[in-house]
């Protein structure tokens, strides 16, 4: 049994922990041993909390043996992205400037997971300050994609994506400002959910861009994501953007029934300039939902053509404002790639920024009109496959295109509008997994998760695993 524990999802492990077939101590030891095996290859962890994890696992074991089972994440070993504050632990944001920063409080999501009985195995690497999509970090080294070690895992939550795919963290949390949960989820063949803005508190998360940031689950399965969202969602008075909405039981709403689902397809934007293999895989994913009873409608969202501009002006300006002082006083301590982004963020005018917010308002209205006709929108998560580490350009149907411009094209609109977006695997291009994005109206996470679950039942990953999972 123990040899296969790292292959199991939370939804499979939780019943075994609850009925005492396995212990949190046994599971934690297995995950840490596996991390020892995979880390030299993928470099996902910033720090491993070996002693703390073993201590927490023992406490969880004691509670479960005493009949105090707290729920699905009780005794589950997981590491989190390095921009989430852990009380008395170093939180570096994978930067040099904050390499010694120690928070004196837990982020709300960390506190909620602690309360749920999760076992923290450590902190996971990210693109420096969460401002990039490669996770090729100049201070702590590149994180490698477990499916192909020469390729990026996506970013900025690249450590989270790689660790979950590799099994060195059973589940994780990422943060998403323009796609930083969904991009690595797509690249690493896992599930990534960017919830509705305000559903998950950002208190204790180092900001990248205030109005665009989100925190969400990165997991092996859709049900794992639903269970994790149940743990972390909820109003928080410490976060002024927190939404005071009722908590939902997302897991109980997953039944895989998509008979009356109306899927919106926007050909003009979300299927324009897409890698032909990815296009086919996403359309096949939509067809598999149609085969299960869903219907497809074509929709128009005119303002999407300005979304990337509005996203860039907003994120660059807000991020640059956050780092303004350090950019002036110690620019040499930033990695070159993000230093240039912060410099670029000083260039838009106040007029640019305000017009970007007007575009954003118009975009919200356009999406709302689309959701008056359809239940969900489906698109590729990424228009291109993950590139080789160190390359700034990526192949798009034989043409070399700029990586940054292309990789956030389909994920950024959900950050601008605050609507939820779920990336689920839909197949392979060569040896790399490909993700499909499902978007819906604000607070429609249950619907997105159920749609993702219906797709997951078609087994798009065909049971394949990254090769590095094999241990001697």
């Amino acid at each position: 049994m123990s040899k296969n524990l790292i292959d199991l999802a939370v939804e499979e492990l939780a019943p075994l922990l609850e009925n005492k077939s396995i212990s949190p101590v046994e599971l934690t030891k297995e995950v840490l041993a596996h991390a020892d095996h995979t880390e030299p290859q993928i470099n996902a962890y910033m720090d491993i909390y070996r002693e703390d994890a073993e201590k927490s696992a023992k406490e969880a074991e004691k509670e479960i043996l005493n009949g105090k089972y707290r729920g699905m994440y009780h005794g589950i070993p997981m590491a989190l992205k390095d921009n989430l504050y852990f009380k008395d632990k170093v939180t570096t944001m994978s930067s040099k400037i904050h390499k010694d920063f120690v928070s004196n409080y837990d982020a709300t999501v960390v506190a909620k997971l602690r309360e749920a009985g999760a076992v923290f195995t450590g902190k996971l690497s990210m693109h420096e300050y969460a401002w990039g999509i490669t996770n090729n970090n100049p201070h702590y080294g590149a994180v490698r994609n477990p499916w192909d070690l020469d390729k990026i895992p996506g970013g900025s939550s690249g450590g989270s994506g790689a660790a979950v795919a590799a099994g060195s963290s059973v589940a994780s949390l990422g943060t998403d400002t323009a796609g930083s949960i969904r991009i690595p989820a797509s690249a690493c063949g896992i599930v990534g959910l960017k919830p509705t803005h305000g559903l998950v508190s950002k208190y204790g998360c180092y900001p990248l861009a205030w109005s665009l940031d989100h925190i969400g689950p990165m997991t092996k399965t859709v049900k794992d994501a639903a269970g994790l969202l149940e743990v972390i969602a909820g109003y928080d008075k410490n976060d002024p953007t927190s939404a005071n909405v009722p908590k939902e039981n997302y897991l109980s709403k997953i039944n895989g029934d998509v008979k009356d689902l109306v899927i919106g397809v926007n050909e003009d934007f979300f299927f324009n300039e897409v890698d032909s293999d990815i296009d086919k895989l996403v359309r096949a994913g939509i067809q598999s939902l149609v085969d299960q009873g869903a219907k497809v409608e074509t929709v128009k969202i005119p303002t999407l053509q300005y979304a990337e501009w509005a996203e860039l002006v907003t994120s660059l300006s807000e991020a640059s404002a956050i780092h303004d002082t350090d950019l002036k006083k110690r620019p040499e301590d930033f990695g070159d790639d993000i230093r240039m982004l912060f410099e670029l963020g000083q260039l838009p005018s106040a007029v640019d920024y305000l017009q970007a917010q007007q575009v954003r308002r118009q975009l919200k209205q356009d999406f709302q009109k689309a959701f008056d006709k359809v239940d969900v929108l489906i698109s590729p998560t990424l228009p291109v496959a993950p590139n080789t580490i160190g390359e700034d350009f990526v192949d798009l149907n034989g043409k070399q295109v700029d990586l940054i411009d292309n990789i956030i094209r389909f994920t950024g609109p959900a950050n601008l509008t605050g609507i939820p977006g779920l990336s689920v695997p839909c197949g392979f291009k060569g040896n790399l997994p490909i993700g499909l994005q499902i978007m819906g109206p604000a607070f429609s996470e249950a619907l997105l998760l159920n749609t993702g679950y219906a797709l997951e039942q078609t087994k798009p990953l065909q049971g394949r695993k990254p090769n590095l999972l094999v241990r001697a």
Partner: protein, 63 residues
Amino acid sequence: MFSLSLSIQELLKNKGIEVKEAHLDVLEARWTGMQALRGNLEHVKIDDADIGVRNIPGGDHIE
């Protein structure tokens, strides 16, 4: 081209930010790219649109 680079350099210097020489071409290319993405925004009816600085999902006037 060169004068545009200088203007970016000067603009940033005026804000107290020293830019590496090696960054100037990239900054210029990206800034030009952003202007291109802006496209013909002047022809789009956003004049009546309020601003969405606070990101309230689903519209900015939820009751």
